[in-house]
Symmetry: C2
Subunit: 341 residues, 2 copies
């Protein structure tokens, strides 16, 4: 099959590799119909050390089941399915509690080979979700967002317990930030302040429900949001992952409020003491989204067109164009690239 491999920072290649095969009875093989490039794929694109053997990349996909292991009961050959970006049993204590990304199964993990024609899916029953549409639907881009970015934006809003009347600030105008806006809107937020600098993106944020856009960052951005909200936002959804975004979140959150993070932290230590979180009883939460937990909740509005999260895809490429898609996303020319097979 053809697959995307990363050989180091800035070095993405599409090559012919061995087809994956069933290794355990709970596995399935999926022929990918749509995949995409994630903002988090840009982290290794920036800093992966050069390596002899290419690293498979990509963690978002939907496709058709090509083969199912003998233990797989919920999907079968020919089914159109969307996967979560993590694979889990969906039956353990943590999965049942809705924290699928803390699944206790020894095979639990995160996908990293989805920018390819075929993929092996461990724990297929807990990972693949059978879609009630055909492969010819125009909804494929929106359905693909259930694999990660929509569920991740929704996780940010859920963890922050966004509810009617809340003032919410979203940090980051990437796909996850924009879908956090959409999610906050769905959960009843009254005011949604989107912090982002790219007009094309923040315009989509406004379409998704943002009531205010703040382009300033750092101290200036903090001052602006504190002024707009007369003291800070109840809920801050942090969808970037860099340390300045954390500091910005601390600066704009209201006393007693919540900072919910879904941007993968590119730092380990950060302020949590009296001056930052403790003194004002701020809650810090979030993490890798258990997107599998949200599909049932999010799918109906996608199917009936109430929401159109697939709008985050502003370029469609073929597999061979994936290296160019990385470059375009890194240059901020493209918000999120859809890979069509």
């Amino acid at each position: 099959m053809r697959a995307t491999l990363m050989y180091g920072a800035g070095d993405v290649r599409v090559e012919t590799t061995t087809d994956p095969s069933i290794q355990k009875p709970a596995d399935a093989i999926v022929r990918i119909v749509r995949s995409c490039v994630c903002g988090s794929d840009l982290h290794p694109y920036h800093d992966l050390p050069e390596q002899e053997q290419g690293m498979p990349v990509g963690h978002e996909f939907l496709g058709v089941v090509e083969q199912a292991g003998t233990d797989v009961t919920t999907v079968k050959t020919g089914d159109l399915v969307v996967a979560s970006f993590s694979y889990q049993d969906n039956t353990c204590e943590f999965c049942r509690a809705g924290v699928q990304t803390a699944c206790a199964h020894p095979e639990f993990g995160f996908f990293s080979a989805a920018q390819a024609e075929l993929i092996r899916v461990p724990l297929a029953d807990g990972t693949l979700y059978k879609l009630p549409t055909g492969v010819d639907t125009a909804l494929l881009p929106s359905l693909l967002t259930l694999a990660d970015v929509y569920g991740t934006g929704y996780h940010a809003a859920k963890m922050a317990k966004v509810s009617a009347g809340d003032t919410v600030a979203v940090i980051g105008d990437g796909a996850v930030g924009l879908l956090a806006v959409l999610s906050a809107k769905q959960l009843g937020a009254e005011r949604i302040i989107l912090m982002g600098r790219h007009k094309v993106r923040t315009d989509l944020g406004v379409e998704f429900g943002a009531t205010d856009v703040v382009a300033e960052r750092g101290e200036e951005g903090i001052a602006k949001v504190v002024e707009l909200t007369a003291g800070g936002a109840h809920k801050v959804l942090e969808a970037v992952g860099h340390r300045p975004a954390y500091d910005q979140a601390v600066g704009i959150v209201r006393g007693g409020g919540v900072i919910s993070r879904v941007g993968v932290p590119q730092y380990e230590e950060a302020p949590v003491g009296f001056a930052s979180l403790f003194g004002r009883n701020i809650t810090l939460n979030g993490g890798p989204a258990p997107v599998r937990a949200y599909v049932d909740e999010l799918l109906p509005n996608v199917l009936d067109g109430t929401v159109n999260p697939g709008k985050v895809f502003d370029r469609t490429v073929t597999l061979d164009d994936v290296p160019a898609a990385y470059r375009a996303m890194d240059d901020r020319e493209v918000l999120k690239a859809l890979v069509q097979f």
Copy 2:
């Protein structure tokens, strides 16, 4: 009046000072009947730089209203009252949301002169709570815990959303840790693991509801709790405030769980990234307890004897003996000293 002043680390003196007086119409003057020494008073006792002018200390008291300013409506001269360790209006947005320690009133603050015969209480209506007992009740020690340590332990449990069936770990066998145990028990925790090394204290913890005691600390303590709980506690209540206690909390919390802190952090930065909080969707919260918010909830069980939080006082001293009480608490001879006037 006689009052306690701290002149530097280890240097506590009781001296004659000027009586406080009403300065604003919302003030009251309270003649203190019971005060006490707090674990957090030991922080300046360890590291306060030497100073010419003594620093008034103490933030927990109950007493009798001596004089009420002209704007005070809820208490009057002669009333027996307990104060919260913060003073607040109890009417602003934050107070109404139950985060009195983030009160927006310009005079909001924390008491620091309560180991004395008299004290000025700003914002008396929002700060003093009229007790339905006489000054001769045997319940005074338990009623005094509503000023801080009981409400603070309860805040830890409330922020962690302790509920029926939870496995809770409490870090710290000081008064707040022990009352966090009591609070977790009241909120229905099934298993309460108390991490502490002082048998007299952990024995009281067991009386308050702890089902297990872990004396080990650091990696050893973490391993023990992880083993006891088959993977970690749902809720960790951190009642120490030193950085090793934070690290211990991160080590023993279960995926998807909560670390609720009420020990005043003696650090500003700590790990919050993928390896510590983010990767397992851990929630970090807590802060200075809005104890005023909990008096209505906690008082009935104190009055009817269902709980006896006053048991944390294991020595009673006079005001002149307060310096000796600091020494005894610092030497771990005494858990918490009650000051009787």
